[in-house]
């Protein structure tokens, strides 16, 4: 493996996040199963990276490790100059709170809360004052074109609108790293285009985007594509060079 996954500069410009020789091993009976095997890669700050690969290849596991939802079994993952394995659960939560935004395929919106309530959630756990929260919620929903729907619950929104609420929630804390797991997987083509357009906007604003996708058209919007198979990165390529045959 060559290179390092480096997402630097999203805090102060001088900070670096590194992923080096990372493995994630699950024990199935007596057998160790490598969900990720010796991953060493780097991505520059503000980069738009797509991760592709067949089902079960380790794409989502890599995304979860990058999102600090999973700790690597082996190897080193440094975020903001800090080794993830040395942080306790509470410190990891604070890191997710301030640095990372998640966009899920299945939305994960809380059904009893309105769009505004769902967007507000990360700020509640961060202890941000209600007046500031209100202001940021308004801005985030405005950015995804859902100002008029702020008081609607998820079941009163179309799937495309739900995913826009998810994007608003992912960006409301102004994280520099946005991790998206199949963000258009549950959407019709028109809604998918809208979501990809919003992701493009986030990229243009300087957010670092890492997106897991099966869709080659989605991957084409990224700068770079990593192809994973059996827990290994088997291909690194510019999205321009990506063809169905190359996968």
């Amino acid at each position: 493996m060559t290179g390092e996954l480096i997402i630097d500069g999203f805090m102060t410009g001088a900070q670096v996040i590194k992923l080096k020789n990372v493995s994630k091993i699950y024990q199935v009976g007596d057998q160790p199963v490598y969900a990720l095997a010796n991953i060493t890669e780097h991505i520059k700050p503000g980069e738009y990276v797509a991760i592709m690969g067949p089902s079960g290849s380790g794409k989502s596991t890599l995304l979860n490790v990058l999102g600090c939802l999973l700790r690597p079994t082996e190897g080193s993952y440094q975020l903001n100059g800090q080794e993830i394995n040395t942080l306790n659960d509470s410190e990891l939560s604070k890191l997710r709170q301030s640095v990372i935004g998640f966009i899920f395929q299945s939305f994960h919106l809380i059904p009893r809360l309105t769009a505004a309530g769902n967007v507000e959630l990360p700020m509640i756990f961060a202890g941000i004052a209600p007046q500031v929260r209100q202001q940021r919620v308004t801005q985030a929903l405005e950015a995804v074109g859902l100002t008029a729907r702020s008081h609607h619950r998820p079941d009163q929104l179309s799937v495309g609108q739900r995913q826009r609420v998810v994007i608003a929630r992912a960006t409301v804390m102004n994280p520099r790293l946005i991790l998206a797991d199949e963000p258009t997987g549950n959407l019709d083509s028109e809604s998918g285009k809208q979501i990809l357009g919003l992701l493009d906007q986030l990229y243009a604003l300087g957010h670092t985007l890492i997106i897991v996708t099966h869709d080659i058209n989605v991957a084409h919007r990224a700068e770079r594509v990593l192809v994973i198979s059996d827990g290994h990165i088997v291909q690194r390529t510019s999205s321009c060079n990506l063809t169905p045959e190359s996968l």
Binding site: L69, D89, Q97, H108, R112, P122, I124, F125, R169
Partner: protein, 400 residues
């Protein structure tokens, strides 16, 4: 996370499913209602009993035959119990500090007049009885003062007995037969009501010597004593003890019961009963707490994906723990509040529904019920909340 946000999030969850919320807090509510109701009846009964005794005053003593606290082996040491007599009562009356003595002989007998008959309590007493027991005469007069050994054939009717035998007519000057003995009615008492369930109004009062003749008894049931307020209780007791032992050949074969001791004993018994009842009722709260725990387990299971989301968006395990524990505590507190409101309402209307039932809510028990209900919420939410906090976010996010 701010407390106001914690409360808002927890309340939002609780109000989303009102039926489930209502059912889960029902157990706690019923528990609190039970505790309030039973302790109110217990406290009401305690107050009723104490009021029944204190109405006669606190400077009273009762002397009964026999010793309630003894040492040794009866018979082996040759102890003899002497009878309490009218002479004993007269001897006590002569002691310094004693202001009144009422020798008492009581039995049941059939009282007949105007072709009607009724079995009632017959009190053999003296002229001092109305003052001693705070009774008043409604018409006529009470038994005449004088020699207590004199068997006068005069009687005073309780108001209920008078009504039963004579209706609205005045019985004064009429005759009644008590167990065959003929007595002239000289007075009717004013209504007094019940004393610990005993209807004092359904009785007849005759001179103590006459009562002893009717019942063919040569001893008293008890001697009632009143002493002056300026005297030490212990001194009075000692004087009475010495005088009676002197009369009973050195044997302390009697028991002196003070009003204070009796009240204390009654109070202790009633308090123990009330606490025991409260504890038994409190067990129902455990059932309520288990209900909340069951619901909280279901809630955590249902919201596993949500827990994963909250963790992904930066909620710490501690915040997740607080959130679920808060929901549990709110459920229990609402249950406690509902139970409190309903319980106190029932206590208010109970005397209307069941006239005469003594109920009095005691603030300590009410507060204890509320505290226990909140504690039940904490205990019942503790394990589910800990489980929720420990859920792996990745697995949780993959839960449907």
């Amino acid at each position: 996370m701010r407390v106001s946000d914690l409360m808002r999030l927890a309340m939002g969850t609780i109000t989303t499913r009102p039926t489930r919320t209502a059912l889960s807090l029902l157990g706690i509510a019923i528990g609190v209602i039970t505790v309030i109701l039973l302790t109110s009846i217990g406290e009401g009964t305690r107050r009723y009993v104490l009021s029944q005794f204190t109405q006669f005053g606190t400077n009273l003593l009762t002397i009964t035959r026999g010793k309630t606290q003894t040492v040794g082996i009866p018979g082996v040491l040759g102890g003899t119990t002497h009878k309490l007599t009218i002479q004993d009562a007269q001897a006590i009356r002569q002691l310094d500090g004693i202001i009144r003595v009422v020798p008492v002989s009581v039995g049941n007998a059939r009282v007949e007049a105007e072709g009607k008959g009724r079995s009632v309590s017959v009190f053999g007493i003296t002229a001092d009885m109305p003052e001693h027991w705070k009774f008043t005469v409604r018409s006529g007069r009470f038994l005449p003062p004088g020699d207590p050994f004199r068997r006068q054939s005069v009687a005073v009717l309780g108001p209920k007995l008078k009504t039963e035998l004579f209706g609205n007519a005045s019985p004064l000057g009429s005759f009644v037969r008590i167990a065959g003995y003929r007595f002239r009615i000289i007075g009717v008492m004013a209504p007094k009501g019940n004393l610990l369930g005993f209807d004092i109004d359904d009785a007849i009062y005759v001179p103590v010597a006459s009562a002893m003749t009717i019942f063919n008894m040569d001893e008293l049931m008890e001697i009632q004593v009143a002493f002056g307020f300026g005297h030490q209780l212990e001194t009075i007791i000692q004087r009475i003890r010495e005088r009676l032992m002197e009369r009973h050949r050195g044997e302390e074969d009697f028991t002196i019961v003070t009003q204070a001791a009796m009240l204390e004993t009654m109070d202790n018994i009633m308090q123990v009963i009330t606490v025991a009842v409260a504890v038994i009722a409190g067990i129902s709260m455990i059932v309520g707490a288990i209900g909340i725990m069951t619901v909280m387990w279901m809630v955590v299971r249902e919201r596993t994906a949500e827990i994963g989301l909250l963790k992904a968006t930066g909620a710490t395990s501690g915040q997740i723990y607080q959130l679920f524990l808060c929901e549990s505590v709110i459920l229990a507190t609402i249950g406690g509040g509902v139970g409190l409101a309903v319980g106190l309402s029932i206590v208010q209307i109970l005397p209307t529904l069941i006239p005469g039932i003594p109920v009095h809510p005691h603030i300590h028990y009410v507060l204890a019920a509320l505290c226990v209900s909140t504690l039940a919420g904490i205990c019942s939410g503790f394990i589910p909340a800990r489980y929720a906090a420990s859920i792996d976010p990745v697995r949780a996010l993959h839960t449907q």
